[in-house]
C-alpha cells in the first residue's frame, strides 16, 4: 500500500512525500521527493558577475534577500574586496529585517499553525483558525510587524521584495537621519511583538500536546551555523561552526573553506542531493556521531552556538539550552522564536550604531577570481560559489541551499513521524497532517533546493502492493 501526500501544503514550492506500508499496514519507509526542477546554475554561466545578486534573488520569491546577500558576499570574495564598516552595518541591518519577517511568516501563516492550533479540521488549519483561537488583535500585530520589517528591507534594499542594493564591495545606497529614526522606531516595536510571540507560543510549550509533538521526531545529528568571534549566532557573517550531536565543537572554519568539509550524496529517487560531513562520511539515513548527516536552520544555529548577540535573546537562549543540545525536531519552532527576538533586537542595535549613516559605503573591487559567499538564510546555511574569468564573467556557479543541507534529516524526520502515527493502515487527514508537520518544522524551500537544466530526467515508479511493478524512463 502506498500513501502519497502531494502537494505538501503550506510550504514554498511543491514537494511530494511517499510512504510505503508493509503487509500489516505499518510504515516500512517514507521519502520526500521534489518534482520541481529549475536551472539557475547553468543559466548563470556567461553572466556578468555584478548581475549575480539580482539574478540569484529570483530563484525564490520567499527568500530573495538571502540569495542577494550570499551572492554579494561571494563577489566580495571573488573580487578580493572588503566592504567598509557602514556598508557591512547596512547589509546586516537589512538582513536581520529579512530574518524577522521570514520567521514571522513561518510562525503565523505556515508551519506555526501546527503548533498553535494542533489537530483541528483541515478548513481551520490556517491563519483564520488562528484568529478564531487567539483573537483579532494578534492578527493585526502580525500584519503590522511583517510590514514594518518589509518596509525596512525596501528602505535599505531599494526595492520591495527583491533588494538591489548589495554590490561587490559594499552597497549602492546609504541612509540619512530620517530613515534611521524611522527604522529605530519600527525595530523597537518589532522587539515587543517578538516578546509577545514568545509568550503566546510558550503557553503551548507547557502543554501535554507539545510533548507529543516533540516526541514525533528527534535526531542526534551534527549541527552547523554561522557564529561571530564570541561563538554567538550571526545570520550575515562570521565563521561556520559545526558541533557534534553531544554539542562538542567538531570544526570552526572560514566560510571560504566550507566546500572542503562537505560532500554530496546522490540518491536515484530524487534530484536533490544529500550533503554530509566529509570527515565523518555518508552512512545512510541514520543519525549519531558516526553519521555525517548535519542539520542547519534555527535549531542548528542555536545548537552550534554558545549564545546570542543581543540581551533578551541571550536570556531565552540560556533557558532553551539549559540541558545542552536540543535534538527534538519540533524545537525548531522555539529556536525560530528566539531568533525572531534576536533579529529585532539586532536591528535596533545596528540602527543606533554611530557609523550607520556614514557615506563611505563601497570599496572598489580588485581583479576577479573565485569566491564563496555564505549567509544564514532563515532556513539555514546558504552557500554561493562562483568562478569568474579575468573579465568578470561567471564561468561556474554552484549553489548549496539550506533545504539541501537539511535534505537527509528531513527525510528521516518524515519517516520517523510516519512510523509514529500510522498504524495498521489507519490513515486520515489529521494523521497525514502530522506527518507533514514533521517536514514543516524545517521551513523548507523546495523551489530553491532543486535546480537543474536541460532535458528533465523523469522516472515513474508504479507500485503494486509493496513491489515495483513497472518503471517508466524519460531522458535517463
Amino acid at each position: 500500500m502506498k500513501v502519497s501526500i502531494d502537494p505538501i501544503t503550506r510550504l514554498e514550492g511543491h514537494g511530494k512525500i511517499e510512504i510505503f506500508l508493509d503487509d500489516k499496514g505499518n510504515v516500512e519507509k517514507a521519502y520526500m521527493q521534489i518534482p520541481e526542477l529549475r536551472g539557475f546554475e547553468m543559466f548563470c554561466r556567461g553572466r556578468k558577475a555584478e548581475d549575480m545578486p539580482i539574478i540569484t534573488a529570483r530563484i525564490c520569491g520567499v527568500c530573495p534577500e538571502a540569495h542577494h546577500m550570499a551572492a554579494a558576499k561571494a563577489l566580495d570574495d571573488a573580487f578580493n574586496v572588503e566592504p567598509p564598516e557602514t556598508a557591512k552595518l547596512l547589509r546586516e541591518l537589512l538582513y536581520n529585517a529579512y530574518i524577522f519577517y521570514d520567521h514571522c511568516l513561518h510562525l503565523y501563516y505556515l508551519g506555526g499553525i501546527d503548533v498553535l492550533l494542533g489537530d483541528v479540521p483541515k478548513e481551520e488549519r490556517n491563519v483564520i483558525g488562528l484568529i478564531k483561537k487567539f483573537g483579532m488583535e494578534i492578527g493585526k500585530e502580525v500584519v503590522k510587524h511583517r510590514r514594518y520589517a518589509m518596509e525596512i528591507v525596501k528602505m535599505l534594499g531599494g526595492r520591495e521584495i527583491h533588494p538591489v542594493a548589495a554590490i561587490p564591495g559594499g552597497v549602492s545606497k546609504g541612509i540619512g537621519e530620517d530613515e534611521r529614526k524611522e527604522i529605530e522606531e519600527k525595530a523597537k516595536s518589532c522587539i515587543e511583538f517578538a516578546k509577545t510571540s514568545l509568550a503566546i507560543f510558550k503557553e503551548v510549550f507547557e502543554s501535554k500536546r507539545w510533548n507529543e509533538l516533540l516526541g514525533l521526531d528527534s535526531l542526534q545529528t551534527y549541527y552547523m551555523g554561522l557564529v561571530d568571534k564570541n561563538n554567538h549566532v550571526n545570520y550575515y557573517d562570521g565563521d561556520i561552526r559545526i558541533v557534534t550531536p553531544s554539542g562538542k565543537e567538531f570544526a570552526k572554519i572560514k566560510t571560504g573553506d566550507i566546500l572542503n568539509h562537505i560532500e554530496e550524496h546522490v540518491e536515484e529517487w530524487t534530484y536533490v542531493k544529500f550533503p554530509y560531513l566529509k570527515k565523518v562520511g555518508w552512512k545512510g539515513f541514520v543519525d549519531g556521531e558516526k553519521s555525517g548527516i548535519y542539520r542547519v536552520g534555527p535549531l542548528a544555529r542555536l545548537n552550534a552556538a554558545d549564545g546570542m548577540n543581543t540581551k533578551e535573546a541571550m536570556k531565552e537562549f540560556e533557558e532553551f539550552k539549559k540541558e545542552g543540545v536540543v535534538h527534538e525536531t519540533f524545537a525548531f519552532y522555539h529556536a525560530r522564536l528566539i531568533e525572531m527576538l534576536n533579529a529585532a533586537e539586532r536591528m535596533y542595535d545596528l540602527v543606533r550604531h554611530n557609523a550607520i549613516t556614514g557615506t563611505d559605503i563601497r570599496a572598489m573591487p580588485n581583479e576577479p577570481d573565485e569566491g564563496i559567499g555564505v549567509v544564514e538564510a532563515a532556513r539555514g546555511v546558504l552557500i554561493h560559489h562562483y568562478k569568474l574569468n579575468s573579465h568578470g564573467i561567471v564561468e561556474e556557479a554552484n549553489l548549496i541551499v539550506a533545504t539541501t543541507n537539511n535534505n537527509a534529516a528531513i527525510n528521516m524526520s518524515v519517516a520517523n513521524a510516519a512510523k509514529k502515527v500510522i498504524k495498521k493502515g489507519k490513515v486520515d487527514d489529521i494523521i497525514l497532517n502530522k506527518v507533514e508537520s514533521a517536514f514543516r518544522c524545517y521551513d523548507p524551500c523546495l523551489a530553491c533546493a532543486s535546480h537543474a537544466l536541460g532535458d528533465t530526467p523523469l522516472v515513474v515508479n508504479i507500485y503494486r502492493g509493496n513491489k515495483l511493478y513497472k518503471r517508466l524512463k524519460k531522458n535517463v
Binding site: R10, L11, E12, G13, H14, E36, R38, G39, F40, M42, F43, I55, R58, C60, G61, V62, P64, L105, Y109, L110, N126, V127, I128, I131, M136, G139, K140, V143, R146, R147, M150, E160, I161, H162, C445, A447, L453
Partner: protein, 145 residues
C-alpha cells in the same frame, strides 16, 4: 481613485515575465502606481494593501490570449508562493483596507529558465495593455456614478 497596477512574474522564467512586461509598458502612461511583483501570495497581497483599486497582470496556464480572471480562481504563475493569493487577500482584508481587485491573465504554454518572451506572447503584450486601460476606464466610470 488611488489605484495600483501590478505586473507579476519572474524575469528569468521566459513567458512567465509577460505580466512584468505589460506593467513596464504602462509605467507613466496611466493614472495609477505601477509595481512589479516577482512573488505571489501573501507578498503580492501586501503590495496592494491600502489602495482603493488594483489590477494584477499575470501569466496563466490553461488559457489562450488575454482574459480577465475571477480573483477567486487566480493562481499566481510564480512557483514559490506560500499562501495562494485569494487566501492571502481574505486574511489581510480582516485587518487592513484591501482594494477591489481585477486580474488580467495572459495565456502561456509553459515556463523555462530563459530571458525574454516568445514571439507569440510578445504579440499579446499590446493587447493586455489595452485591456488594462479598458478596465481602468470602466472603473473610473463606476466611481463617477
Amino acid at each position: 481613485m488611488y489605484s495600483v497596477i501590478v505586473g507579476v512574474g519572474n524575469p528569468i522564467l521566459g513567458d512567465d515575465a509577460v505580466g512584468l512586461e505589460v506593467a513596464k509598458r504602462l509605467h507613466g502612461k496611466i493614472n495609477a502606481d505601477v509595481k512589479f511583483a516577482e512573488a505571489g501570495g501573501l507578498e503580492l497581497a501586501e503590495m496592494i494593501a491600502e489602495y482603493e483599486f488594483a489590477i494584477i497582470i499575470d501569466a496563466v496556464k490553461g488559457r489562450k490570449g488575454v482574459v480577465e480572471i475571477d480573483v477567486e480562481e487566480y493562481e499566481e504563475s510564480v512557483a514559490n508562493h506560500d499562501i495562494a493569493f485569494p487566501s492571502a487577500y481574505r486574511i489581510l482584508s480582516r485587518y487592513i483596507r484591501m482594494p477591489k481587485v481585477r486580474v488580467v491573465g495572459i495565456g502561456i504554454d509553459g515556463m523555462e529558465v530563459k530571458e525574454g518572451l516568445s514571439e507569440e506572447i510578445k504579440k499579446l503584450v499590446p493587447v493586455a495593455v489595452e485591456k488594462v486601460k479598458e478596465i481602468m476606464e470602466e472603473e473610473n466610470e463606476l466611481v463617477a456614478v
